[in-house]
Amino acid sequence: MPDWIVVILKSLTLIVVLFTFTKLLGTKHISQMNIFEYISGVVLGGIVAIHTFDPQANIFHAILALFIWFIIPFGVEKITLKSKAFRNFTEGKSTVFIQDGKIMEDNLKKEGYSTDDLLEKLRERDIFLASDVEFAVLEPNGSVNVLPKRENRPLTAKDLGIPLAPQKEPQTIIMDGKVMNESLSNLNLNLKWLETELEKLNVSIENVFLGQADTDGQLYVDLFDDSLAVPSPTEKPLLLATMKKCQADLELFSLSTDNQASKQMYEHNSKKLQEAIDKIEAYLT
């Protein structure tokens, strides 16, 4: 066999083997790998690189070496999943740098971090004052994670006590003018519903580039023809407005009538309607 055919065959074999092994080793991102995983990855690549263009090298040696460099990291990974003690040994433990707002100088020294290094890591997190930090920890992968003090954390709806409606992920139900039946049924909706909604918007399905529906089954579409304007869903705002209008109407009736029984009835119902509005306002906005 001429050398060049050997090179082609070996390359193809090694590509298949390398691809299988790396798939089996999982999809960890490089930044999440510890140094051992990183190096074994490089070695796997190196073995393939050396053997792929050398017709003299023995391909079985290559596959054997690949297998060993695959099976040991693979085994280590499996054991680390099971055992916490082994995990501490292979991946290392995290080190607390700042606790209760106080910097742990001994831990810094132990990890070889200077004050400048710590400040730099804090600045990466947009913290320029060490006293703004409640807790900071050095993770085994070398990044520093920081918990700022309560008053320095971003304001959330929870802090303000604003009730919010729970939301699930929106589903993409039309792609390139084609209906995605699976995501449609994920929302408990069917084709009939989609046709009605599109008719309401006055567009045909072929003209829809992308269509998405949110948790409450409101349809948002983008058309191929960008010159057409698509109205945004009005169902919920309209409902809220109607409720508010009815509530005001009832109040008005109660003020304008002289009949005591009717007056009370209107008043009572207007209050009830207000209650209903308070209950679902978060969901309708």
Binding site: L189, K279, Y283
Partner: protein, 66 residues
């Protein structure tokens, strides 16, 4: 517009709200949202009942505008 027709309009709106809430309840994915819509719908049902009686009462009061 007479009082009777005003109340009738409001009655129709209330019915509309109830139906819309029912649709939203059916479409809602989250149990919590479903519950809120359902509760609101029940309230609307009560109001609808009261207002329906009032509509009948008013038609009797103003038979000329029936």
């Amino acid at each position: 517009m007479t009082v009777g027709s005003q109340v009738k309009t409001c009655y129709a709106s209330i019915k509309n709200i109830e139906a819309s809430l029912q649709i939203l309840e059916n479409k809602a994915q989250h149990a919590e949202a479903q519950k809120a819509y359902k509760e609101a719908k029940e309230i609307m049902k009560d109001i609808k009942g009261d207002l329906g009686k009032q509509v009948i009462y008013l038609t009797q009061e103003e038979p000329q505008y029936k």
